[in-house]
Point group: D2
Chain length 344, copies 4
């Protein structure tokens, strides 16, 4: 079976395994106070164009999300999220377990608009019963979204303007950031992300690392005591250098961008094959996740050889499914699938 | 500099790195539903003599602690811990952040006694104001303790009896379990642990793994929906097979026990060298952590070549410090330190 | 100014003030362990036809809601609520602060349907990723709803059937229960409520008491240690007999039902006056809360003499507003308003 | 039976009942936005000598405590309390349920010393592992303490100095403030309390009100959005004017101070009677709570006619018990008890 079911189904890029092997006998301080974390942070600061950024490494995405939210919000404050946002849809209520309400909004193409956010913030601002409702204080969006779509620079800039107007923090979940930055037709750079967000993270788990996410804090209000939040939320790795080492490996020579760009290219290639066959996309994703609407027969045929993920039933004869290409996808895997799609 | 400051200062046992490399190109399902987790769980069930045990793999110790506590307790229930317990002393209030009170008791040699536990449980049982205080429902102990000491089988059996009498869960933090089971003069086996605890975990991070802890649930009441607690608490690794693979490697042929036993042997050797020099131990630890009371002059001399950890000041001229031997300590490192101690 | 803005704008029914004065010099045990709480509980058990019910008195509605939810749910479980539900819309995220997700559903006439609930429960049941989402375990509805509407016996019975099928608890917020039971054309009795709910509460604050709500627990699973949850959530009144005394006064001779029925009769009278004038209702409420859609001119005219509450703007020239009749509304207040409406 | 078991065993001072009756037919806005709350706040500002103070009214003490703590602390911060503190000993873990660790210290005469607090704060300040422990950020003390003792002005001033040095908030639980200010030999005024604390509350429940506590915030950092915390924590009374009305009644002409002073005078009288009989006090309390060490025989004799509270067993033949005098204690009740003590 060939797996397209997700982008975290294989270990790590060989360069990372090599780095782990090369340093395995060296001993380090624990908890992220080590030369690799320091070097990785410096590479990331340089890459995002913000030498003033604080960079912290945590193990996974759910942790990154609830830790960042805990660190940014007071108890009576809430976070605005599209209804499709990962924090709302796939984290077992971790944000609420941490005490915060998520204000969900309908998502178009997996995205929020500046106007939607402004409406919620304005509703609170003019509310005569402010103390009976939570104060929206943070906007959570994913880049790319859970459906593979990306915000344009214009859209992000408009969201930033609303955040400035209403005093909201902008938090960008970049679990798949590399793929989003490589989006076909996209115009957002990692420097834009760092310029527009108050806090965001760079996903490693789905982009070539064994595991790990790099949280980047731009807003000085959010920097103090962040390590206390990390530890309290169980997101501090004892052997912290393992995270620094991986991010240094991914960022010091651009590897992160190379491998995610290559994956997006293959995904576009794959999409073309489905499209050529007349198979519709659920959303027009320019990144590594592709959602297709298959007939039951097509689905059954492809399931014989490929692993992919059900998303939702469409009607009695059609299902929406997800195919993920990743940093670890082999060209021959894509070629095989293309051929089988053509033969459907 | 030679590091004795902790037992998580190097990567992983070579067998684990090799296993990671060998499987790096294989693709798996995520979130711990994979053949390696299954195989590792089977090895652990066999090793602990409990085929009925549920086994879950999480990333680190703090997570293991607060996730287990969250899964076992209702909001009005509390956990009894020695004042030196890791959950009380080193986890940034993570248990309280999760909503639970820790009832701390004085620790003798880092340990609780059955009598102490019974006293707290009895105090609640006879309280005329039960609803104004929390219900002690769990006992948290570490094996070995944070000071390297271990409970005898008699002590553990007595604690179990009190837990049975009062309906308390016994949770054993085994972050350093391997070292505890290899304790000089110890009489507790891993099968005893599994027979006496309701839930415990087997530490990987400090015992040869890159990272990871295996939670073992014996009490059927505590099994349902445990994976929901893991996910909600951010302790579920996307590439879950990395944990299963490591624990399979450590347990299928006894490697876990070999490397921790060897570490304890070296620690005993080291303790003998300090003792021979007339340097007192703070506690008489039979495991890999050794606490010595050094004069300022001795401390300064050893600091030139070795990294070790301050524990607490004793008086104007003496400090208590910790030396850790671990699965990764080299015989020549111990020999060097022994020679330097002898030369003090 | 005459107030129709809410149903908690005056003190208490004279019988309650008299009871307070009559007993002011008597001394009691604290925290709800007293003869009045006992007698009140007995009256309520008799009234609802469930001698096995546990009855607890708390101070207010928000407390009643989050305490009940805390007592019923484990951390990974969530509560289904209409988007208009009080716990979602007016409690500053108290439920989330307590750690639980609210699964909101669109509300028709302020109500949920059995089919909607079944759909959410079924989605969870068949989910291949159960541990990544919360488990819906409780249904929260209000009787009457926040818009004054009521469920029919058929609707409640259907909801109960879904709860039984999926193992959900049914929690009925009865902050205005008296008004709901007196609904024009309604067919639900308090015995029905007690037969169909697992837990519900009888509102005192809005129905003649100075303050206080009586939580009634029918499901034996939910009874143990409820007083611990009450105390932990700050809902236990030191002078608990004040609550018992009030509920005894309201229930021992049917006063509760008399005063709320009278209020609903006046509300129907009032509605008829608006309707006769051609002023539309926002929803067709058969209880004490009436929502009318006024023109700006009508609104301005009525604001000169009456206090009522804005609900939401409808369009440039119309606003939806709420008029509340209550146990304390005087017939002449209603007559005055009717005359002024007729004169608009 | 004559009750000395607590200071909340009777309703309210007659002036309060009268005020409730006089205003029962007036209608008000809800949630504490009303003329009585405004007037009461003004009286309190004047009384405490701080026109800049924010004053909020909540229902009870546990609520006041956990709401204040929630409003003052971030998740990684903790509160220092004597081990006898109400938040630690009598609130079912409410503070931990809200997510915060309590750092308990041994109490001498129910009190903390400035030196103890400084030691904890200094330990954190110099800790090399700050992110692994909670940051002490608030000091919680009671005035008077749970054992009836009071701090001297010197002691409070010293504690304030330590709070200033380490950036700690001083929170004073004044559930029995009136009795503390009337302490025999005490030298602390309510103006001192308001000058030294960052936030404190004035107890009504135990000092003549039906119920209610007035939270007074001095530190401007703690003022914003406090009403949101009140609502979220279930401490906002719908009929908020009931609280304002009571506090206005107690403060506009000094009634609060008169009735608590009278109670303390009776308590001193009572203590003299026990002392004259050779019955030792457990602690030398200058306020309304008196703890005596009775023989079993004395206890049995007094139990025939009086209700009082067991505190703790002392030895096989002695028990420590509490007698409370209060605003509602009648002179003849004290005289009867004195006579019976003399006759023991």
């Amino acid at each position: 079976m060939i797996r397209f079911n997700n982008d975290y189904s294989r270990g790590a890029h060989p360069a990372i395994l090599k780095a782990l092997a090369d340093t395995n006998d060296t001993s380090y301080n624990g908890y992220g106070i080590d030369p690799w974390c320091e070097k990785a942070a410096a590479e990331i600061q340089k890459t995002v164009g913000r030498p003033d950024a604080d960079v912290h490494f945590v193990i996974g995405g759910t942790q990154a999300n609830f830790t960042a939210i805990a660190a940014c919000l007071r108890a009576y404050q809430s976070v605005i999220s599209p209804v499709t946002g990962h924090i709302h849809a796939h984290e077992t209520g971790a944000v609420e377990h941490g005490g915060h309400k998520i204000l969900t909004l309908p998502a178009e193409n997996g995205k929020l608009s500046a106007a939607q956010i402004a409406a919620v913030a304005e509703e609170y601002r003019v509310s005569p019963i402010q103390e009976h409702i939570t104060q929206p204080k943070m906007v959570y969006i994913s880049f790319p979204t859970e459906y593979g779509t990306v915000y344009s620079l214009r859209e992000l800039t408009d969201i930033r303007a609303v955040c400035d107007e209403y005093g909201l923090y902008l938090f960008i979940d970049g679990a798949r950031l590399g793929y989003g930055l490589a989006a076909a037709g996209g115009d957002v750079t990692i420097q834009d992300i760092a310029r527009l967000a108050d806090i965001f993270y760079i996903g490693g788990t789905k982009c070539g690392a064994l595991f790990g996410e790099a949280i980047v804090i731009l807003n000085p209000e959010l920097k103090p005591n962040f390590r206390s939040f990390i530890k309290q939320n169980g997101a501090m790795l004892a052997k912290g250098w393992l995270l620094g080492l991986q991010f240094y490996t991914l960022f010091h020579d651009g590897l992160y961008f190379d491998i995610t760009r290559r994956a997006v290219e293959m995904a576009m290639d794959l999409k073309a094959a489905f499209t050529a066959k007349g198979i519709p996309s659920y959303m027009d994703s320019p990144t590594n996740q592709q959602f297709f609407i298959l007939t039951k027969r097509q689905l059954a045929a492809l399931e014989e050889k490929y692993v992919f993920e059900p998303d939702h039933p469409v009607d009695g004869d059609h299902d929406c499914v997800r195919f993920c290409v990743s940093w670890s996808t082999l060209p021959e895997e894509v070629e095989a699938l293309k051929a089988d799609v053509a033969a459907l």
